[in-house]
Symmetry: C2
Subunit: 483 residues, 2 copies
């Protein structure tokens, strides 16, 4: 009896595992029939020139899975209970790439197929100006690890959390910090801990938007938010951003009934404009009159340079129209995946339900460590330290841009955040600029895709937080040499 088994000795898959797979396949494809006797472990081992214990291990596993059965004093057989019809090869559809028909995807699934691939895995540039990542090498990893380690003693923290909204003392720390530094007015009960600001956007979009609903977005605006609204099948209305931020006079001329408006008042993404106080007040008034929910995404507000009036919209709101979003990704580190939202009290029960449904709660130990880290002052000290560093890098970038490009460059939104938007007159299309930069080892991002109605050329986003001063200087020098 020949099992026609070929084992690959060069493979990283253990031999017994290969044996199991081959026999399982043979059964399921009908090459081995129910009640068929298998060779003894000794003879199979000999014919395959492998050790007998490998065969025994494989047989035992297959028996425990119900493929084989041992008949006392007789040997090992293919299990008699596997119905014949299942074993006929013709009853098995060929495996094709197209395993789901369009009809089995929901509307949400279908809208995702229409969105371009969301991840960006970038080539390794010598110098990448990609925005978003903070200067992670300055994060005090060992200190943070020690804060975490403190809680690696209490095994009750390993259990399911009883509150989907997060660890209450962390919510207290956040409420106090936001009140202190961002003029956000809230109780800890209004705070929900989430996996970064993206989850806040998704939760709010899901809880509010039906297909066909209208959402107002800053133009240009943040893609992570746009895609959440598109996923829900919403219609997007771009609203122009000027030097005072989103232009509320343009907004109020729109006739649609908006359900949501998404804004980034502290440091508009990507232009970097700070919304003026008068526009903030006008926006709140408009929202109150039109019963529109404002999402205020304060994604990098911790970093501002110089004197600017930036009270959070949330703290000025008197009509419970604002849900405020913040993240620890830019201050601690992005791969921590902790952020928060601040919602009017009446929203909390439904957000709690949604959070439970999505993934129950955020990891516990990190929430405990973060609470201590904020309470002990390290959090705000780290912000101050990084603000100083980013300010330096920002100045190097601006000086280099002005020095090498002169009058051909306009810099926007330099007073806050960890990126600037830069208009460069190159006389070339953005694609060409980016290609040429890439060829010189420089990663560059055009602002074009952040517009719903692309029309601008020559706008680029420069993240500088993650680059050393010499890299920034060199990167800009190289760019200037290309054009």
């Amino acid at each position: 009896m020949d099992l026609a088994i070929h084992l690959d000795r060069a493979s990283t898959t253990p031999l017994y595992q290969q044996l199991i797979e081959k026999i399982r396949d043979a059964v399921l494809e009908g090459r081995l029939k129910p009640n068929q006797k298998l060779p003894s472990s000794r003879s199979l081992a000999k014919s395959l020139t492998i050790s007998r214990s490998t065969v025994v291990q494989g047989y035992e596993q297959l028996e425990s899975e119900g493929y084989l059965e041992t008949r006392r004093g007789s040997g090992t057989y293919i299990c008699h209970r596997i119905p014949d019809e299942w074993l006929k090869p013709q009853s098995i559809k060929p495996v094709t790439a197209k395993v789901f028909k369009a009809c089995t995807l929901s509307r949400f699934g279908l809208s995702l197929t229409s969105i371009k691939q969301l991840e960006v895995s970038e080539p390794d540039y010598e110098i990448s100006f990609r925005y978003g990542n903070p200067a992670v090498e300055y994060f005090p990893m060992q200190q943070w690890r020690k804060f975490l380690a403190r809680h690696y003693k209490d095994s009750t923290l390993l259990n399911y959390a009883s509150d989907a909204t997060g660890y209450f003392p962390l919510r207290i720390e956040i409420a106090n910090y936001l009140g202190r530094s961002r003029a956000v007015r809230c109780t800890p009960e209004q705070i929900v801990i989430i996996n970064g600001s993206q989850q806040a956007l998704d939760l709010i979009a899901r809880l509010t938007l039906n297909p066909g609903d209208w959402v107002a977005m800053e133009e240009p605006g943040y893609l992570g938010a746009r895609y959440c609204f598109m996923g829900q099948g919403a219609n997007l209305q771009p609203i122009a951003v000027n030097s005072e931020g989103l232009d509320v006079s343009v907004l109020s001329k729109n006739r649609q009934k908006f359900k949501l408006i998404y804004v980034t008042p502290s440091h508009q993404f990507p232009t970097g404009v700070t919304m003026s106080l008068s526009q903030r007040i006008a926006l709140l008034q408009w929202a109150q009159e039109t019963d529109t929910l404002i999402i205020e995404d304060d994604y990098d507000s911790e970093y501002r340079y110089g004197e600017q009036p930036i009270p959070a919209l949330q703290g000025m709101d008197r009509s419970q129209s604002v849900i405020y979003i913040g993240t620890f990704s830019k201050i601690l580190f992005p791969s921590l995946r902790i952020g928060y939202l601040v919602a009017p009290p009446a929203w909390i029960p439904i957000i709690r339900q949604a959070k439970w449904l999505c993934d129950r709660f955020c990891p516990t130990l990190e929430q405990y460590a973060l609470t201590d880290w904020i309470a002990s002052g390290h959090f705000e000290r780290h912000i101050r330290r990084m603000r100083h560093l980013y300010d330096l890098r920002r100045q190097v970038l601006i000086k280099a841009l002005k020095g090498y490009f002169g009058a051909r460059v306009t810099i926007l939104g330099e007073n806050a955040g960890i990126h600037v938007m830069v208009k460069i007159e190159t006389g070339l299309a953005d694609d060409i600029v980016i290609q040429k930069a890439a060829a010189a080892g420089i990663g560059l991002i055009s602002a074009r895709e952040y517009y719903l109605k692309p029309q601008h050329q020559g706008e680029f986003i420069f993240g500088y937080a993650q680059l050393e001063e010499t890299q920034i200087e060199q990167g800009i020098l190289k760019l200037s040499q290309i054009f």
Copy 2:
């Protein structure tokens, strides 16, 4: 000039912060008007008997927020740019509890309001038989901490991950483990790392279900899954479970076109029945013929006692009809929030998109540590150790139940998992049984709510993993004394 400010010295809010809030309120409520002069910091400090630096700090903050302005040589004023109309109290709606009208919630939001509160915060029972939590005090926290600490050296791990589906080496370890121990057949590319099995359920529900679609559920069945389907507005069809698991003959008599069927073949939740091989084959055949997607939730399959044939459905499937879900919550610990799903290759791009949209990716450092923990064999060693412990606790529970209740008790699903379902003849309604147990310090869960069509009384779910042997024995003794 009197600002009518009262500061609370007993409060934990710093005095300067209180001052800021009071002035901000006064401006927004119109009690302080634009261009109105404020007392000098010296005189306000005196009148409030606080230090001058506290007032200066408060004024500076309010100035940076745009509420105040300093006029050189003249003093501090309420900013002239705050529009008058905003300051009239009558223009501000009173804050009410009802801040969202029904129309501003999406269909999803509305369905969540119809679901009972999802979290369970249980009273502190002396002995709680609540199922779900593993014996976390046996988890090697210090060892795990060391595995984590290894990676607290590489700051690049702190950045945004480039792949929403998870750390590839972890996906390799999971694919190998699943192949070895669960007869799951997949490549690492088919695996997506998620925040526990709940996120898998939610992602799949969202990607497949439109309002009005039909889903088949085991009866009784898992609530976490049911609520995800309800959240999407799906119709649920309960399918009876018998001693061979879900009854496929009942299923195939249904005339609805199902989009999904949710099953727990290894250890049916909550009955604990293991689905027979013939029923598995019948289910796969039905799914293939009807183009239905099977969700196989293998939530506690690692723990089985004795010889049972339990190949995963996924490994027998030849028509790419199965999405398999697993979790590390029961083996490592629930508050880690790491699980995985295994999907047919064609599903991966859309699941990746959805994962990115929901929360981008799972925390990185934990994925690295887990990879090492599995690769070094600790993972499977821990499973074996815990299997032994749970087996012991299980035997104590069964012996106690039989010993104290005799013929009045029937135990189901004892051969796998970390809970059993128990039928007890008490002659009382479940509510009364639970009340009486609670009064004696015993936490007990009725199986009633797991039925879509509640009809059974006297079925209870006993989790035993988290209880010491003496607690189990005592708990059952106490219960027997009540009835």
